[in-house]
Amino acid sequence: MKHVYGWLLLTPAAILLVGFTHYPAAATLFDSLFSTGTVVRPSRFVGLDNYAALTDDPIFWQVLGNNFWFALGTIPTSIALALLMALWVNDRLPARALVRMAYFTPTVLPMIAVANIWLFFYTPQIGLLDQIGAFFTVPSRNWLGDPDTALACTMAMVIWKEAGFFMIFYLAALQSLPPELEEAAKLEGASRWYFFRRVTFPLLMPTTLFVMVNATINSFKLVDHLFILTKGGPDNASSLLLYYIYQVAFSFFDTAYASTLTVVLLVLLAGLAVAQFQLVEKRVHYR
């Protein structure tokens, strides 16, 4: 009887999880083994053909590479920036609430709105960047229209958007640190840098792990800006894996191949999360 009661308590959550998470994941895996069906040509079992097609797809490799650079470019920078901002607004400074809010504002704005604003930062000649550049007689640049700069431009925007969000976590963690530690360090004559390196940062490790996992997932999940900024262009130079999945599914209507790409994305993210927990956990001190 006790078991039944326990299971009953679990059921609502379990139904939602199975219905909206586990079943779709399994169905995606299943779909990736079939061809895309139309009324004229019904779907049939093709085994691993879709995966073979994937390895031959140059755009897939390109967007995967882009995603790698995107992750590498955004994660460490936005975390470092978040930590810096958190340390700064944790101190007693005038108009602290205002500064905190200012740092947090980008997070509150919807990505599409943000991208529309940044689009006009980057627009050649009439954009903010070029207007500032013109003041110093720097020649105008076609920021988003040049494959060498397009991806970097989207990265800068995402860092700006993410850092404030991560700052909140660091800020919360900093405020839970006991003040005695700092007093003790002061008595011992430790420098601020030494105190940060040996006390604050290690104590923030659980937060860093949490933020890192989130940042990694976000670097694969955030593609809203591409719809506004570049549509993945020029020539896929700024396209990311999830945006490519969207194109395959809703522009090419190739649900089977989109499923295949989704499976790759799932495996990638699961692998990364496990690796992060395994590697970083050793350096995390939970209290």
Partner: protein
Amino acid sequence: MRSLFALLLAALLAAAVPAHAATEITFYYPIAVGGPLTKVIDGLARDFEKEHPGIKVNPIYAGNYDDARIKALAALKAGQPAQISVLYSIDLYELLEQDVILPWDDIAATADDRAWLKAFYPSLMMNGIYKGKVYGIPFQRSTIVMYWNKDAFKEAGLDPEKAPANWNEMAQMAAKLVKKDASGNVQRWGVMVPSTGYPYWMFQAFARQNGHDLMNPEGNRTNYAHPDVIAALQYWRDLGAKHKVMPEGTVEWGTLRQAFTEGKTAMMWHTTGNLTAVKDTAKFPFGVAMLPASKQRGSPTGGGNFYIFKKTTPEERKASLAFVKWMTTPERAADWSIATGYVAVRPEAYETPKLKQYAAGFPQAVVARDQFKFATAELSTFQTGRVRKLLDDAIQASLTGQKTPDAALKAAQAEAERLLKPYR
């Protein structure tokens, strides 16, 4: 308890058997709910119902073209009512492959109906006909035109009333229109052609002007690698790389209108759909002209058509036909064109007093119509999303200098061949 049951039963019966059996048409229309056009469409549906008491029209607003197509197809799959829809004109082959649409010829019973099928501009019908049958009735259609800044022309010593008529003129005039500051930075470009969002659409204009369409009417063959087509892309590339009259790299579709109205480019190629917005924001006199010619003039059309779905009863088909015919009468086409900036879809509409009067006050509005005789279908094939993206990528790779037009288009053509072979 029993009386409650009886009441329920009565209510159910009343719901199942309406007083007079009206035919209902569910009509999917691609626009976000709450936009100003929903009011126009709602109003049209109510007016139609007043004139046709036996028919009820339920418009369903369904986001952009992609959303509308996904929602309409999902409704059909789920067995929910969907009789007609305005969908992207280039979705034709996709809808054919899903086997969900019906040719209007099969429903057109009377001589009047059949005459109606021929009442539209032929260039607008190209995206709607497959194997001799009409599947798409043009409704909200646009085309590409050239906008030019008359003040900039004056400043550069050019005739402000004369737009370039051909490619050479455009390059030469654009060169005169480029304005640089003391340190050699460009203040104003000569011309801009957008190359994000819909690069294939712009490129169709270049290719057509150089004498070629990019696909066959059956939608199973592309023509990306013809030497004249490659030359067309070379010209586009040269505007930036050789003539230095256009920024190098891609030109953003979304911000181009601002670049033009802020005077950062003297000419731009853009959709007629921007006409009203440019009219409202430009602080200088501007002109609208047909696109320049190489071997001939040319521009693709774009926009949405009426489709009728297969899963319909004979009554619903009759009612749908009546509705679509009513929506495309010359008077309504004229109203629609004035309200939205889309082109009126049939010649008679331009003969109506309303549109004549409007055009007299704003002659830029009829340039698109005059260009129709040179217009061609928008790029649409089987596997259209992929085939189109191949071209988009090739164009962007050339404009950014990563590949030569020759190499980029040949690779795109080879891949398109592979995709389209099964459809021959």
